[in-house]
Symmetry: C2
Subunit: 322 residues, 2 copies
C-alpha cells in the first residue's frame, strides 16, 4: 500500500478533516489500495450510530437533518452527514439559495457533511454510502445521518442499512403516504409528520395509523408517530430523545447486521469481479470484432454475452467448489 | 424458452399492448429466458429514434414531453415514453394532482408510457432503460422519449444513449445552469429554455451561450438554443422540427452506437456473472462462517473478499486467454 494511503489512514484516525475528505474520495473512486485501506480502518469502526432519514421530495428532510444535527451537537456529540438525496441542498442538487441556507450546520464544530452523487455502474451507491459511513465512524463521529429521498430502490436500500430509520411525511402533498414509494413506509422505526402546523397534519397521522392497522398484528409494537415543525425546530428535541431511546434497545441489531455483512461481502465481490472482467476485455481489444458485427447488423449483443458467459461460469463453478 | 415468452414475443411483434407491458416487466425482472427473448426481438429493433429529455427538477420536463409527444402524434408517429425521473408525474413519484394532469397524453392513440423506478443493485437502471427502449422499438414505435432528471450519474448515462439529447433549463432557479449537474450541460444536442415567458429567460440564453463560448472551439458548430413555453405549447412545433431536422444528419451516430454496443455487452456480462456468483454463494451457505466472524468482530468484510477474489481472478484470466 502506498505511502499516501498510510498518511490518510493515520490522518483519519487522528481526526484530520482533510484526510477524512481525501480518503472518502479515494475510496469512492476505488483507487488502487482502497480495499486494503478499508480493512485497516475497519477495527476502528462500530461505534457510530447510523440514522437514516427519508421521505418524499419537499418533505423538509434537509431542514430536519439540520435541526437534528444541531440538537445532537448541543448534546456534545460529533455528527457526520451523508446526503444522497439528489434534491438535497447538502448534495448540491438544489437551488443556490437553498444551499446557502443550509450552510450553517456544516460550519458547526464536529459536523462533517458529505454529499454523494447517484453512482454509475454496479449499484455502487449503496456500497459507497456504507464505506463513507465507516470512514466517518473510524474518524470518531458518534452519529452518522444518511439523508436520502424515498423514491428510488437504491435509496431504500441505503437507508435500510441504518440502525434507525425516520420516514418523513408532510401534509398537503395530496395523499402524503402515496407520495412515498411503496417499500419505504414499511421500514420506518419512527414516523415523523413534518410541517405539523399545516392543515391536514392530523389527517396524515391517522393515515399512517390506518396503514399500520392493516400491516401489523393487533398486539405487535408499533413505530411511534411524531410531529415536528423543522423550520422552527418544534418537536425536534422530543424526536431526538426518541431516537436516542430507541438506540438503547437494540435487540434486533445483530440479526440486521448479519444480513448487512453478507450483502456487503457479496456486493464488493461482484464489483471487483466486474471491474476485473472489464479490464480484461478493454485490454485485449477482444470485443472489437463482435461490436463491429453488431453495428453492421450481423449479430446482437445478447447472443454475444451468452457465448462469452458459458465458459466463464464453468470456471467460476470449479473455483468455487475447491 | 417457455411458451409464454413465445406468445409475448409474438404479441410485441404484432403490436399487442398487453404483451408489450408484460414483456417489459419480465425483462426488467430478469426472469429466466429474458436474454433469449431479447435476442429474438433484436432483429426488429433499430427503427425508432430515441430522444433524451433531461434537466433540473421543476424545469417542466414532463409538460414538455407531453407537448412534444402530442406534436409527434399529430404528425402521424407512434411514440413510447420511458420516464426515469423520480419526480416525474409519469413515473408516479410526483403528487397525485400532477399525475392526473399528465394522464391525457398516455391516452392518445399510439402512445405508450412506461415509468421506471431507480433500480437496485448492479447499475441496472441504465441497461434496463435500454432494454425497454428496444422492446418499444420492436413493438413499432417511431420515437421513444426518455425523460430523466439531470441530477444523478445514472440519469446522465441513460440520456447519453439517446440519439438526440434535449437539456431543459428554466429561468428563476437562481443560476439555472448551476442547478444542472456538471456533465449534463455538455451532452445537449439542443438546449431548451422552457418557461420562456418568465423574467430572466434571455439571461439563461446568454448564460448558455457564454458557457458554450468557453467550452467549444471558435468555429465549431454549436447546439441550437431554443425557447419554449411548454404549458401553452409555444415553441414546441419549432423544437420538434429542429429535432427531426437533426435526426436526418446522423453522421456521428455510428461511432456513438459502437461505444454503446460495447458498453451494453459488458454491462449484461457483468450482471450475469454477478447473479451467478450470488446464486453460488447463497446456495452452498459458504459465507455463514465468515459472516459470523465479522459480526463477532474477529474479521472484516474486506479481507474476506480479498481472500475469495484471488482464485476467482486466476480462473477468469485463464478462461479469458483461451
Amino acid at each position: 500500500m502506498g505511502v499516501e494511503w498510510e498518511s490518510l489512514i493515520d490522518g483519519v484516525k487522528k481526526g484530520d478533516i482533510r484526510a477524512l475528505a481525501k480518503m472518502i474520495t479515494r475510496v469512492e473512486n476505488r483507487e488502487p489500495g482502497w480495499m486494503e485501506a478499508m480493512r485497516r480502518i475497519y477495527p476502528y469502526t462500530g461505534k457510530a450510530h447510523v440514522i437514516g432519514i427519508t421521505g418524499s421530495p419537499g418533505a423538509g428532510k434537509s431542514t430536519l437533518t439540520n435541526k437534528i444535527t444541531s440538537d445532537l451537537v448541543d448534546r456534545g456529540y460529533k455528527v457526520g452527514i451523508v446526503a444522497v438525496d439528489p434534491s438535497s441542498p447538502f448534495s448540491g442538487g438544489a437551488l443556490l439559495g437553498d444551499r446557502l441556507r443550509m450552510r450553517d450546520v456544516s460550519l458547526l464544530d464536529g459536523v462533517f457533511v458529505r454529499s454523494m452523487a447517484t453512482r454509475g455502474a454496479l449499484g455502487g451507491l449503496n456500497q459507497a454510502a456504507r464505506d463513507v459511513v465507516k470512514i466517518m465512524d473510524a474518524f470518531g463521529k458518534d452519529f452518522v445521518i444518511i439523508e436520502t429521498v424515498g423514491v428510488g430502490q437504491d435509496e431504500v436500500e441505503i437507508v435500510k442499512t441504518a440502525d434507525i430509520v425516520l420516514v418523513i411525511c408532510v401534509p398537503g402533498q395530496g395523499d402524503a403516504i402515496q407520495a412515498i414509494k411503496a417499500g419505504v413506509m414499511e421500514i420506518a422505526d419512527i414516523y415523523v409528520v413534518n410541517k405539523a402546523d399545516r392543515e391536514g397534519a392530523d389527517q396524515v397521522v391517522s393515515d399512517i395509523r390506518a396503514m399500520l392497522d392493516l400491516s401489523t398484528e393487533e398486539n405487535a409494537p408499533r413505530p411511534p408517530i411524531m410531529k415536528t415543525i423543522a423550520s422552527t425546530g418544534e418537536g425536534v428535541p422530543q424526536l431526538v430523545a426518541a431516537v436516542l431511546d430507541l438506540l438503547k434497545k437494540e435487540s434486533q441489531k445483530r440479526e440486521r447486521q448479519k444480513l448487512q455483512v453478507k450483502e456487503e461481502i457479496l456486493v464488493i465481490l461482484e464489483q471487483e469481479v466486474a471491474k476485473f472482467l472489464r479490464q480484461q476485455f478493454d485490454k485485449n481489444g477482444k470485443l472489437e470484432k463482435e461490436v463491429q458485427e453488431v453495428v453492421q447488423g450481423k449479430r446482437d449483443p445478447y447472443s454475444i454475452v451468452q457465448e462469452m458467459i458459458t465458459p466463464l461460469m464453468k470456471d467460476l463453478q470449479i473455483s468455487n467448489a475447491k
